[in-house]
């Protein structure tokens, strides 16, 4: 048996030399493009299509492939510049420079799924880099030749990916528009505007003592206003799912941070099949996105890449910076897509297809925490120029003084005033184009917000009235009554069916369970009996233990006089018209027992008469989908 002795140190065999500036940049470009292309494909698989990842944040779409390649190209080239400067001070052997690029590429690929811990990712990256280094010092010359000769191919691949993807998307859209069924002349347009996180009682037209909403108030005077609209859920994902499918959360199952199951038809699909150009514009790039399951039926969906900062934040290194941005004093990075920008995008879309009726579904998200509207709106209701900004994701549920809480509310109201201004801009844009008369305009909120009510902050935590009571305003000049205020308690899940009835869709199509709300003004003197609105939310563990949803799922039913909330710990019954802030729980009051029993029965009937979906819902919650 023979024993082989290894050379003591291979690195000393090759005399260290430095790359020329051109070699350094071409090597940086090679690694940047290769790292970015593979990263882009990986990000698309994991965060676009959910491979090895069931969560919906952060989402990406196919453009990420060339965006990652371009970003990494610029990043690696920038590092090349730095290395060039460093080389003036220190000698940098070729192997060190190339290994540094390899380290960045390998770190990127190893970590992009986010599935292994930081320590595991760092260790694995360092290990693979060490292997690369040992390989490279033995094969420096052929490796450099390889990088040099294959660089044109890599560049061509990246350019082709960019052109191919953008052209493909454009062709897809053009084809979708071209294949729309013909719509009758004069078919009305539909604008469905959701103001994220707007609690009804902060609108002037709903009794608030601050002039937060002059434009919405003006709209309300010309519209049908529902004073007691109730959202089926206290947070964005299930509430939007209900708006579009007409189903309750226990049916559509968009109850956690996973994409909405796609088994129910949605309003966008119904509108598209009627010849509408359908487009969605989202200010909430967390939950109202294609990745969340809302892409179906929309020819165009504006959710990602709305700004340079947002585009960068969706790449691997950009995401790393987002985690770090908090520490460098950036309160919000990237800054969310503002209503002003959304309006520009909406009109750009509308103007692009002037001959077709449109259905645009818009989410304005400027009211969501952190409450940081642009100036001068942020300071509009405050003596301080920069109120708010304490409550925000990552710093949730802080202990606030009364003064701080007021400051948050001042900023929220400023954000509402800003949003109201943009609602005015949206309406005047329609007016200016001569579209207002033939447009059904719906303004609604997905859920409310807590400012210390019931000792809670934010939303997605309970089903109290401040969380589920939302504004609902419907306008269609000449077709809907103007200035009609309805006190009936209605669910916003009925909107899909209402839109279809107003557009004279086949009432027997049964796409959306409804019932339509149109009967409230169509049948003079004979108001239909509407089922009491039901609201639901699954258990959510990312909360303080004292918050109701921490302990288990919640369900609620709201009649014209009462709201019953059932949770795993207790039942709560409030006579909300008298007890507006729901402070007096009457669930144990002897006088309220018959009401409680009746409402509880109705709630059971509404939420368990569909055993299949109910079982699914229960299983999902018990498996900790939301944890």
């Amino acid at each position: 048996m023979s024993t082989t002795l290894q050379p003591p140190v291979q690195e000393t065999v090759i005399a260290p030399r430095q790359l020329s500036a051109w070699e350094l940049f071409s090597t940086a470009a090679w690694f940047g493009l290769v790292a970015g292309l593979i990263e882009g494909v990986g990000l698309l698989a994991v965060y676009g299509y959910g491979v090895w990842n069931r969560f919906i944040r952060p989402g990406v779409s196919v453009e990420i492939i060339w965006i990652s390649a371009l970003f990494d190209l610029l990043l690696f080239a920038g590092i090349g510049f730095v290395l060039l400067a460093v080389r003036r001070l220190f000698r940098l052997p070729t192997a060190i420079v190339v290994t540094l690029f390899a380290l960045l590429a390998l770190g990127d690929w190893v970590s992009l799924t986010g599935r292994i811990s930081a320590l595991g990712a760092v260790s694995l990256t360092m290990g693979l880099t060490a292997v690369f280094y040992r390989w490279f010092v033995r094969h420096e010359k052929p490796a450099l030749v390889f990088f040099k000769t294959t660089l044109p191919t890599v560049v061509a691949l990246a350019v082709l990916a960019a052109i191919g993807i953008q052209l493909g998307l454009r062709m897809q859209r053009t084809k979708a528009i071209a294949t729309l069924p013909p719509a009758a002349k004069g078919t009305p347009n539909v604008v469905f505007l959701v103001i994220d996180t707007l609690r009804a009682d902060h609108l002037s037209s709903f009794g608030y003592n601050r002039p937060t909403s002059p434009h919405i108030d003006q709209l309300a005077r010309q519209s049908v206003v529902f004073d007691n609209a109730v959202s089926p859920a206290p947070w964005t994902l299930p509430a939007h799912a209900s708006l579009l499918t007409g189903r309750l959360p226990h049916e559509h199952l968009a109850v956690g941070d996973e994409p909405m199951p796609t088994h129910f038809p949605n309003l966008a699909e119904a509108m598209r099949s009627r010849g509408y150009t359908t487009a969605a514009f989202s200010g909430n790039d967390f939950y109202f996105t294609r990745r969340a399951g809302f892409g179906r039926g929309f020819v165009y969906f504006d959710d990602y890449y709305y700004s340079l900062a947002d585009t960068i934040s969706r790449t691997f290194w950009g995401r790393a910076f987002v985690h770090f941005s908090d520490h460098v004093g950036l309160k919000e990075f990237p800054v969310r897509q503002r209503a002003e920008q959304i309006n520009r995008e909406v009109f750009s879309w509308i103007d692009h297809y002037p001959d077709k009726p449109f259905f645009v579904f818009i989410n304005f998200n400027d009211l969501h925490d952190p409450y940081l509207p642009p100036q001068p709106w942020r300071g509009k209701f405050s003596e301080s120029k920069e109120p708010g900004g304490i409550i925000r994701q990552g710093n949730a549920y802080p202990d606030l003084t009364a003064q701080q809480l007021q400051s948050e509310m001042n900023s929220y109201d400023g954000a509402l005033a800003y949003t109201d201004n943009q609602v005015g801009a949206l309406l005047s844009g329609l007016e200016k184009r001569g579209l207002a008369q033939n447009t059904l305009f719906i303004l609604v909120a997905d859920h409310g917000e807590c400012f210390g009510d019931h000792s809670l902050l934010e939303h997605r935590n309970a089903l109290y009235r401040e969380l589920v009571h939302v504004p609902l305003i419907m306008s269609w000049p000449g077709r809907l009554p103007a200035g009609l205020r309805l006190d009936a308690t209605v669910s916003t899940a009925s909107l899909a069916a209402t839109v279809m009835e107003l557009l004279n869709a086949n009432p027997n199509s049964n796409l959306f369970p409804g019932p339509s709300l149109a009967g409230l003004w169509n049948n003079a003197g004979q108001r239909p009996e509407l089922p009491y609105p039901v609201s639901e939310m699954a258990q959510y563990k990312f909360l303080p233990q004292s918050y109701p949803a921490y302990s288990g799922p919640l369900q609620s039913i709201t009649s014209g006089e009462w709201q019953l909330i059932e949770g795993s710990k207790q039942e709560e019954l409030y006579k909300w018209p008298q007890d507006v802030h729901e402070l007096n729980n009457l669930a144990t009051s002897a006088a309220s027992q018959s009401v409680l029993t009746d409402l509880a029965q109705q709630l059971r009937h509404r939420t368990t008469n569909q055993p299949q979906t109910s079982v699914l819902y229960t299983n999902r919650v018990s498996k900790g989908v939301n944890q």
């Binding site: 082989t4 003591p8 595991g120 260790s123 290990g127």
Partner: protein, 64 residues
């Protein structure tokens, strides 16, 4: 290692641990191999291989 990425969330802690160990092994595999060999030799009673006593650096490596 790629297979570990595809494992359910519940075993990602184990996958992370394995990734850490695997990374360290890749970083120091030559040293690890020598150490393990040395340990094996000690246990089995065989003398350590000459590789453990490097010759004069100027002496070219030879194969026996």
């Amino acid at each position: 290692m790629m297979l570990l990425y595809a494992t359910p969330d519940q075993v990602m802690g184990l996958a992370s641990g394995l990734a850490t160990i695997f990374g360290f092994l890749l970083m120091f595999w030559n040293k690890v191999v020598v150490t393990v060999g040395k340990l094996f030799n000690r246990i089995s009673g065989r003398p350590d291989a000459p590789v453990e006593k490097p010759a004069d650096p100027a002496t070219p490596p030879v194969s026996k």
